[in-house]
Symmetry: C2
């Protein structure tokens, strides 16, 4: 029976409306799919559907209510059993544009580096007590040889006293070496009972999150480890299909420790090491005929948003000096740390506005201008200072926006980002573990995509979350929306590989 005139009209209007609604999506702007692309997308969707109804709808030990996009730390074991994840492991990811370098090598590897490093010591701030072990975070440090201690165990040493790491581990009072490793790794990572139980608010989980950096600080910021760390970060990224990395490096500390345990290695030496390791890795890949697996790596110079505006001036000058010496290495400037409790961008506005003039004065050529690449809107707020950072990031001409979680609340900022190609660095797993969202179906990523924002998918702090590489984050994208498919993933990877190299814009440009 022929359908009625009304139904025919409704169908046409429906198609039009849906097209109009999705017209901003960047994955809709690609030229027509090849039949092979269409087939691949269909296969991916079929697998997703099958696994949603299969493995995700099955009983799993100790996982109460599994579903695709559930809390990552609980669902990770299921993700790893899926075919979808297997496929994503093989997918080329493009660039990784938002990751804190000191959280990009898995904790177990870092711990192994610690154990192999001469002069490595460990201490705890409070007296050893098995009952408070979890909150008594280890601090690591390579000491100058003259300061080596002969303490034999962490429980016999007075609190805050350095103990050689091998002794501390070998004589660890709870389950020996295995107990030590569990404790140290637990301090470097967030576990499910913390994220979803004891620390289940943005504020509380940030406290745990910050403490993981205290636990790894003395390891990462030790030049011999730093060198190996950078190498592993690059190689493991390549392994996951990432072909360009642009990590944020925290330059807050003016020195790291050298092989001799002296805390006197300046920023310049960090970059020299980074440069050499990068060159070595690229050469090795080239020699293996894999040159196209790593296009390069650059650093976003970062400091922490608790410094004073005057201190910020020093870091901006330092950043400029580094850029002059390593123009190929410095990709941008950022301020990091919990936006919800630390200073907003407007607190630094006067100094930040001077950055272009500072670069003029330093004689930085026009094509070497250092863009801001600000964290902004990593918050649940709407009209809070952390949320308002989005306005200032855009006004200060940010090249991209780190997180931008709350951007979906701001139609005008989304419009500006769309018009200017300001890319949002979205970190789904980070957002969920830091309790900005409870699951992927609740994540604002689909709103960003439907509004046509350029989005680069990022891992943020994979070592803390146990989400090494980008495959887990890509998995979460497919769990966040029925609209998103293989073409969406392709668009994300493409965006992360071609973020426009915009220069600085100041408020004058508005």
């Amino acid at each position: 029976m022929a359908e009625s005139h009304l139904v025919t009209e409704w169908r046409a209007a429906r198609d039009n409306l849906i097209s109009a609604d999705r017209s901003l999506r960047r994955d809709q702007h690609r030229s027509a799919l090849s039949s092979q692309e269409e087939k691949a997308d269909t296969i991916i969707r079929a697998i997703r559907k099958k696994e949603a109804e299969g493995i995700w709808s099955t009983q799993h030990d100790s996982i109460l209510n599994p579903f695709p996009g559930m809390e990552f730390l609980t669902g990770k074991k299921i993700i790893e059993q899926t075919t979808l994840f297997d496929i994503l492991l093989k997918m080329p990811k493009g660039g990784l544009l938002h990751a804190h370098l000191d959280a990009t090598v898995d904790a177990r590897t870092l711990l192994q580096l610690a154990l192999e490093t001469p002069g490595m010591h460990v201490r705890i701030a409070d007296m050893f007590d098995p009952a408070t072990l979890t909150s008594n975070v280890p601090e690591f440090r390579v000491l100058p040889e003259a300061e080596y201690t002969t303490q034999s165990s962490i429980d016999s040493a007075p609190s805050s006293t350095w103990v050689p790491v091998t002794a501390a581990r070998g004589n660890f009072p709870v389950d020996g070496a295995a107990g030590f490793d569990k404790w140290a790794l637990g301090a470097m990572m967030i576990n499910p009972s913390e994220a979803y139980g004891t620390h289940n608010t943005l504020k509380k989980i940030w406290q745990k999150f910050m403490s993981t950096f205290r636990a790894t600080h003395g390891l990462f910021f030790h030049l011999p480890i730093f060198e190996k760390y950078v190498r592993k970060a690059l190689l493991s990224s390549v392994e996951d299909g990432i072909s360009y990395v642009e990590p944020r490096v925290n330059f807050l500390a003016k020195f790291m420790t050298g092989a001799d345990g002296q805390e006197n290695v300046p920023h310049r030496d960090w970059l020299l090491v980074f440069d050499r390791v990068l060159r070595d890795v690229k050469n090795e890949l080239k020699n293996q005929g894999r040159a196209d697996e790593l296009f390069g790596a650059r650093i976003i110079y970062s400091t922490v948003r608790f410094i004073t505006p005057d201190e910020l001036k020093w870091y901006l000058q330092d950043c400029i000096a580094m850029k002059k010496e390593f123009p190929h290495l410095i990709a941008g400037f950022d301020l990091v740390g919990d936006e919800n409790v630390l200073h907003p961008l407007k607190y630094y506005a006067e100094v930040l506005l001077q950055f272009p003039a500072m670069q003029d004065a330093a004689g930085l050529p026009e094509d070497q201008r250092i863009p801001f690449i600000f964290h902004a809107g990593e918050t649940l707020g709407d009209g809070s200072e952390a949320d308002d950072n989005l306005y200032d990031a855009v006004l200060l001409g940010t090249k991209r926006i780190g997180h931008g979680f709350s951007i979906v609340k701001h139609p005008k900022i989304m419009e500006l980002c769309r018009e200017r190609g300001i890319c949002v660095e979205v970190c789904p797993i980070s957002n969920e573990i830091l309790r900005l969202t409870s699951s992927m179906p609740m994540h604002p990523l689909p709103i960003m995509l439907n509004n046509g924002l350029p989005v680069a998918l990022c891992s943020d702090d994979p070592a803390v979350f146990g989400s090494m590489g980008l495959s887990y984050d890509y998995f979460q994208v497919l769990a966040s929306s029925d609209l998103s498919g293989l073409m969406t993933l392709g668009e994300l990877a493409k965006t992360a590989s071609s973020s426009p190299a915009l220069g600085m814009k100041t408020s004058r440009s508005l």
Copy 2:
């Protein structure tokens, strides 16, 4: 010291950008605030801030991580201790435009009505077992006198056998009458350990949610109780400052039971009773000099989205017949039930598109046309059938949108709603308990408001959630955003009182 030119320019650009970003907000369009209004808003914001840092940051027994906007069922006790809530109780709320009538009178009152009703019986489907009591939901029913039973207790009666409710209660095997009440109320409501533990997914909590309606069905759909229920619903709404109610009534069952226990009371009689009670309540209020506390009440004729299109035709005709006889009572037509598992609007499109013609044929005058007021987008989906209901609701000319939770993913639909004044009926507490969001700071309401959508705040099923009235929902609005203040609440109340009385639009209008 005078601030630099750059800073002055940045400040101006900042003000402009923020204004532009917020220009769609309807609470920004009000004429300048009076000094009294400004003062009131300031006071509310100060109290909110003080209580966020005070009572919400204090230790509470059995509440792990309290914060404003936290899970309602856990935080309710704290809400009730706040000054903010005290103030909101006194606030005039305007209309209540989205509530299922059979879930608007608190469960304890309904249970009391059950106990007072002659011939009321109760039964359970499975054999009595204290271990499975929670899932063995009571079914109530007034039997015809000839079918009264002499069963003495619920555990001695064979399963599925009716037991007089007084006997069942008096001889209840677990804690006697108090145990019975706890069990019955538990079956009629959702408790925190269900919402946030055992049933902590949209799919699972909907199963519990539906079972609460099974528990109350035989009570609500008994004419003598129905009459008292409507009266209490109206009076308790007035008590909370609600001055107009437009509940959805589920007309799926073609008959309810009458005083004699026969299931033969047709829809027409439901409306006669509703009409009489409404008139009585209005008269009583008038006699107390409180006529302006209740402007009126109308019903949204609803049936459930698991029927066939042919069955839908019957309900549409029935709705038209009711409208002809009670033009002042029928406000619209809707399909209810879990959009994520039941039929989407497009399944019924052909029939729904005929509704205008059916009304023509029935000779309904132009000014009595029955608008659709569809549930749509009560889902976490993006591109799922439940989400796509938003397209069809708009194409079918819906007057308002019930829930519209996923509308924030759809820029074009938001634009159409803004242009056409299609109001979104937002039910924050319902959304959170039904696990569409985990807390108010994660709720999409701020996105809706910042996009200028007309929003009416609604309670949905307050009896199931223990959130009687609208004060709790208004409290949650203030917890969802720093931008929202007293003027926002005023705008919401105003919108709920002045939703445009649009007629039908079909797809032709697009």
